[in-house]
Amino acid sequence: MADAPAGTPADTGEVSVRAAITRALDEALGADERVVLLGEDIADPGGGVFGVTRGLSTKHGADRVRDTPISEQAIVGAAIGAALGGLRPVAELMFMDFLGLCLDQLANHAAKLRYMSGGRTAVPMVLRTAVGGGLQVGAQHSQMLEGWLTHVPGLNVVVPSSASDARRLLHACLADDDPCVFIEQVPLLSRRGPLDDTPLALGVADVARPGADVTVLTYGRQVHEALAAAESLAPSGPDVEVLDLRTLAPLDTEAVLDSVRRTRRCVVFHEAVVTGGFGAELAALVSESLFGRLLAPVLRVGAVSAPLPYAKGLERLALPGKERLVAAITQATSTAG
């Protein structure tokens, strides 16, 4: 079945994050006639710039998996209208950097229509968007801008770290009656892992690695760098707990505070620029709630405050990685306990 969506027919064992997302979309299209997809080049043969929707228009029809003009305002606006009209649209924003082109629709309309109507209207839509940081695609195709979105009440913001979470969280987004932004970090798409059919709700963090000495709060592909950092420190250094937040809004505040209350030290680690990033919100949450219990200041590790450079070496320097995280963990655990 050459045209079948990747990952659909009788997969066993591990699948890529890309295939897991495709599968979730395929399952949703199959299960619910109201589900429709729209975006630039998402129909076959392209199936989206990263092939995430490949096979879906062939299987479910080009009227349900629908190519659009290059018109981000129209794409997001049409998704909002379709949601108001009773569909469950999934729009694709090719790169998160293009958020500026449709932010009015997302922030002023999708996020606010429920509140401004006193609950009379709802916008159950999903906006999937890709982030190319780490792939040498330059400053306009690389930005993690989740902090722009978490600042707006009324939006759910989801950043999966694994194939299983990607599939389950996308299903949770599709079932949710409010707008969800689902962030797909491109370097993560080929990462493979097993699938799990247990439903997963939005707002439930995951202890990716239990530890006693310091908590790393992170999400998305940085979870794997955090796990690598933790392992590299394991032989002689601190015992690192890695908490995968999975969703930033809603945020699993309890899980964050439970972990840091135990470890009494915290490092926030994300791909986005540190200044004004979501990590600042996490650091504030931890500091406000656990000030007297902390043994060290909450540290943040993220991208430097510069547009993401193109040259490979510079890009590597700009983005946070295992080395800078290890340094921050070492600093956070250097004070006496």
């Binding site: 429709v36 009227d63 629908r66 659009t68 003009p69 018109s71 981000e72 305002q73 129209a74 997001v76 606006g77 049409a78 998704a79 909002i80 209208g81 379709a82 949601a83 108001l84 009209g85 009773g86 569909l87 649209p89 009015d104 629709q105 002023n108 309309h109 606010k112 229509l113 429920r114 509140y115 401004m116 109507s117 006193g118 609950g119 009379r120 209207t121 709802a122 978490t150 009440p153 009324g154 759910n156 949710d176 009656d177 409010d178 707002g203 809004a249 809603p250 945020l251 505040t253 919100e281 504030a284 949450l285 406000e288 709630s289």
Partner: protein
């Protein structure tokens, strides 16, 4: 066929020219009553703001009553409407009940949005009013989505996006027109060209002579009508709606009208040539339509007076009633942020 005539015809040779039935006398009286009700509401609100009884940013639709009454009469109750902050006339014409409408404008719990949206965000799905936006041009893409849903569901519903001439210079207008044309969506783009985008005259904000000229760029029919004549608007919208329901895609209608009280309440209109404003008042649409109905013996002067009195009383009574209603309580502060109760507090870390 001269150029103007071309605006009144479909651009595609295979399109049928739709014949629109003239509204019967009952419909004419209903259209007139809608116009009178809008004007009465506007009078009452401006008076209340002047008196200090009511405080709000108010964008008077006075002068544009005919456009709204005309399109309102051409739509089904379940057709969708997306409108703007200057939306009182559209909302009344689409059938939003006066009490929740005024209650919302006054920030009362009984308002369309529990007083949490305000006059720029009136929503009443029961009458098809899905969005009132305060952001110029933003409603058009949303209307496309509503139309797409209707198209997929086979409901036969049409989405009408109402906006001003100022909105035709923003990207959302062009993206929406193009998408609607490409997808042949059942949308009616209704531009209420009142001569000004905020405080900038039409001739200073675009080079095109007619907004409807822009339809050609999207290969959709474009029509310019006298927006102060409700029957001209009704005929154009009814034709566009028929085309949309038949699967023949969107239409751009430009209704030429006028904004008699400027952009926002308190606007001193120093940018408006006095003779232009004086002329506009002589063509004021409510009085003009009344004269026409009296001349054609659809209503007598007494009947017209009775309609005016009935509307004035209805508005006065409703406004009095609404003024006595409570504002939303603190319990409403964090509800309706998200469907899940309490999720809002959780997401703020509170």
């Amino acid at each position: 066929m001269d150029e103007d005539d071309g605006h009144r015809r479909s651009l595609r040779a295979d399109d049928k020219i739709v014949t629109v039935a003239t509204p019967d006398d009952d419909s004419l009286r209903s259209i007139y009553r809608t116009m009178v009700l809008v004007a009465a509401c506007d009078d009452a609100l401006r008076a209340a703001i002047s008196a200090g009884t009511v405080t709000m940013a108010y964008y008077s639709p006075r002068g544009q009553e005919a456009t709204a009454a005309g399109f309102g009469a051409a739509l089904r109750a379940d057709d969708y409407l997306v409108t703007t902050y200057r939306g009182l006339h559209d909302q009344i014409a689409k059938g939003v009940p006066l009490r929740p409408l005024l209650a919302e404008m006054l920030g009362r719990r009984a308002g369309t949005g529990k007083g949490k949206g305000g006059p720029m965000h009136v929503v009443w799905p029961d009458a098809g009013l899905m969005v009132t936006t305060g952001v110029v041009g933003s409603g058009l893409p949303i209307a496309c989505g509503l139309a797409w849903a209707a198209q997929r569901q086979g409901s036969g519903r049409v989405a009408l996006a109402s906006f001003g001439d100022g909105a035709t210079n923003i990207g959302a207008f062009h993206e929406a027109c193009n998408l609607a044309a490409v997808w042949r969506l059942p949308v009616v783009f209704l531009c209420q060209n009142n001569g000004y985008g905020e405080h900038t005259a039409f001739s200073d904000h675009q080079r095109t002579a007619r907004v409807a000229d822009r339809a050609a760029a999207y290969a959709m029919p474009g029509v310019t009508v006298d927006g102060n004549d409700p029957l001209a608007v009704h005929a154009a919208v009814a034709e566009a709606v028929t085309r949309a329901r038949a699967g023949d895609g969107p239409t751009l209608i430009e209704a030429l009208t006028y904004r008699l009280y400027g952009h926002v309440f308190g606007d001193r209109m120093g940018y408006v040539p006095p003779d232009e404003l004086a002329r506009a008042w002589t063509e004021e649409p409510v009085g003009r339509f009344r004269r026409r109905l009296v001349e054609t013996a659809v209503v007598s002067d007494d009947e017209a007076d009775a309609i005016e009195q009935e509307c004035a009383h209805l508005v006065a009574d409703t406004l009095d009633e609404v003024l006595a209603l409570p504002e939303p309580g603190p319990d409403e502060l964090l509800t309706d942020v998200l469907a899940a109760s309490g999720a809002a507090a959780r997401s703020t870390g509170g």
